[in-house]
């Protein structure tokens, strides 16, 4: 992590990866697979925010699914019921989610200790109640149906491939912004909090302000992801924005590892693809696919514990350890990489290479 701010520009590998991600719809024609890869992009958008919040700032959120929900319902309500252009609903989704994040963060983050985690858990529980009860806005238990696809300046993102490009374009911009945040002063301030607040205060870091900034940014990104989600799926159900989704997002940040954007992004890709493994491997027997769905949440819970105990720095740490070992044998990560698609492992590379160059 020492070279965090040292590189003046993105390594060329990341441009290569971006190009590869952009070309996928030209190569893959399977519509379902494209949709799954679009979901990866939606989750990556949330994971970027959580990487800043957890991985850099050391704050735990147990309620990010609620911000995704706020974004989804805001965008759907504004475009369908009020009739605003999609881009207005999209922007409002980010702003309202950020405002909700600010309201929650202001009291919880003024204090030492991890009160934010419990406040977000309570917030998530309340919001999932509101999503069901506020029928006039959200459609209640039945959900919000018939949401038109996103459209910008008359162009409708109807086809899976165009939706894919839209989602990944937003994710790419967010990743670029987050990368710039982490390289400069705000990112270092965030990272200094993960190490310990006393040291951060001693170095003149505005501890509370930094925490609140990270939380608001992550809430906004979750809201934007929700807005895109409502357009991609065309339907919003309250059963999506529940505690188990929040735990999944948190698991991605924890497993991805602290002090890195690439780790959480890679973890997100891995876990999202795991959920839709039957899309990647069409020949997979149905019982295995069913059990995978049944035990998905178990996997998150147990993976969180195992990672904290055995690999406290997550995928990022494993990757760096493997790089510094520099032997061709490789670790468990390398095996896992081979098992997943190119989509899953590519985002982890830029930082890994950077580390390699640095040492």
């Amino acid at each position: 992590m020492a070279d965090m701010g040292g590189k003046p520009r993105l390594p060329w590998v990341s441009w290569l990866i971006a190009a590869a991600v952009a070309c996928i719809p030209l190569v893959i024609t399977d519509r379902f697979l494209i949709k799954v890869l679009t979901f990866v992009g939606l989750n990556v958008l949330v994971a970027i925010g959580l990487a800043l919040l957890f991985g850099y700032t050391g704050q735990v959120s147990m309620g990010h699914a609620a911000f995704v929900g706020i974004g989804a319902y805001t965008c759907a309500f504004l475009t369908v019921r009020i009739g605003t252009p999609w881009i207005v609903g999209f922007a409002a989704a980010g702003v309202i989610a950020a405002a909700g994040g600010l309201l929650l963060a202001l009291p919880s983050l003024r204090l030492k200790g991890h009160y934010l985690a419990m406040a977000t858990l309570g917030f998530g529980e309340i919001m999932s109640l509101i999503f069901v009860e506020a029928e006039s806005v959200t459609g209640g238990v039945d959900g919000f149906a018939r949401i038109p696809p996103p459209s910008v300046a008359g162009f409708e993102f109807k086809e899976p491939a165009t939706l894919y490009w839209l989602v990944w374009a937003v994710a790419g911009v967010a990743l670029l912004l987050a990368y710039n945040i982490t390289r400069f002063r705000p990112g270092r301030a965030m990272l200094s909090l993960h190490g310990g607040e006393i040291g951060a205060v001693a170095s003149g870091v505005d501890v509370v302000g930094t925490k609140i900034k990270a939380f608001v940014i992550s809430a906004a990104l979750a809201g934007l992801s929700g807005a895109l989600y409502s357009g991609v799926v065309g339907f919003v159900s309250p059963s999506v924005f529940v505690l188990s989704s929040s735990v999944m997002y948190l698991a991605m940040a924890v497993i991805g590892g602290a002090g890195s954007l690439a780790g959480p992004v890679a973890a997100t890709a891995l876990f999202t693809l795991l959920e839709y493994l039957n899309a990647l491997i069409p020949s997979m027997p149905a019982p295995i696919a069913e059990n995978l769905g049944l035990y998905q949440t178990d996997i998150y819970g147990i993976a969180i514990i195992l990672v904290v105990i055995f690999a406290p720095r997550g995928l990022t740490g494993l990757w760096q350890r493997r790089r510094s070992a520099s032997s061709a044998k490789g670790g468990s990560l390398a095996e896992r990489r081979q098992g997943s698609s190119t989509q899953a492992d590519t985002p982890a590379r830029p930082e890994g290479l950077e580390e390699g160059e640095g040492t």
Binding site: R110, M118, L121, G301, A303, V308, I309
Partner: protein, 290 residues
């Protein structure tokens, strides 16, 4: 008037449950400095295991005892397997592990006991007791009785036994306690065993009134934590008061406004306390004295 009395009775009944869960939070917080996110799952396990042992054919007292013991053992095992391997003194890691643990416990309960709601018959049958125009369910009396006995036992353990004094010392300073020859790691285990037992008692006592299921833990966890924060996350007496106050606020909000608001009360109180008086009721009392 009798309406108000009815709300107050309901409030103190729920408040007693929150108090027990809140005590579980404070016991673990005292020994680790971290919030135990699996606390609500101990509450869930108490009720669910109670149903399980009753269905095995155990008589009620034996089933209650078995459920509390089993939950306490699970609490201790969780600490030994997942918390102890962590390097001490990093609350963030402990919090993350307890989040993972709460997910795992909830999912295990789902796989073993199924997704359906379960219920226990009231501990003693009979019509509600009439009192000044209000009705008191017999189970409510059981809840109050069990809470009183549990809190009294906890107070005796803390004040009178060597174990309790060792735990108090550990909560003041791990290093200091270790210098006095106290096995602080064991004290952390004891804290998890105690907090699991506290949660289980609460979960058992309330199941005849509210039913239970694998997913009741998260909600009660937030309420119990709110009560603990309201009490200042330290002083046991203030914690119990925090529970009762939260129960009363909820029941008055639900009674006079809309039952929908009941669950929002805890979050409002939680954020309100954090914003206005982070030291909770205990801080208020201390200020009053000083």
């Amino acid at each position: 008037m009798s309406e108000l009395l009815q709300f107050l009775i309901a409030g103190v009944k729920n408040g007693a449950i929150y108090a027990l869960v809140a005590l579980g939070f404070t016991v673990v917080f005292a020994s680790t400095g971290a919030i135990n996110f699996a606390q609500g799952e101990f509450f869930m396990l108490g009720g669910v295991l109670g149903v399980f042992f009753l269905r095995l054919g155990l008589p009620l007292p034996a089933a209650v005892l078995a459920a509390v013991l089993a939950t306490a053992i699970i609490g201790g095992a969780f600490e030994a397997l997942a918390i102890r391997p962590l390097s001490a003194g990093d609350p963030l890691k402990i919090i993350i592990v307890t989040i993972g643990g709460s997910v795992a416990l909830r999912q295990f309960a789902l796989h073993i006991f199924g997704p359906n709601e379960m219920i226990i018959a009231p501990f003693s049958s009979g019509p509600p007791i009439r009192f000044a125009g209000a009705a008191v369910e017999r189970q409510t009396l059981w809840i109050w009785g069990l809470t009183l006995v549990t809190v009294a036992c906890l107070a005796i353990v803390y004040q009178k036994t060597m174990l309790g004094k060792a735990m108090q010392a550990t909560s003041l300073s791990h290093d200091g306690a270790r210098l006095m020859g106290i096995d602080t790691k064991k004290m952390v285990t004891v804290a998890f065993v105690l907090s699991a037992a506290l949660g289980a008692v609460a979960g058992l006592a309330v199941t005849p009134l509210t039913q239970t299921a694998f997913d009741v833990g998260a909600g009660i966890g937030v309420k119990g934590f709110t009560a603990a924060i309201l009490g200042g996350l330290g002083n046991p007496l203030a914690t119990v008061c925090g529970g009762i106050v939260l129960g009363l606020l909820e029941s008055l909000a639900a009674g006079y406004f809309d039952p929908l608001y009941k669950d929002a009360v805890a979050l409002v109180v939680l954020l309100g306390v954090l914003f206005v008086r982070p030291s909770g009721l205990a801080g208020l009392m201390r200020r009053g004295r000083g």
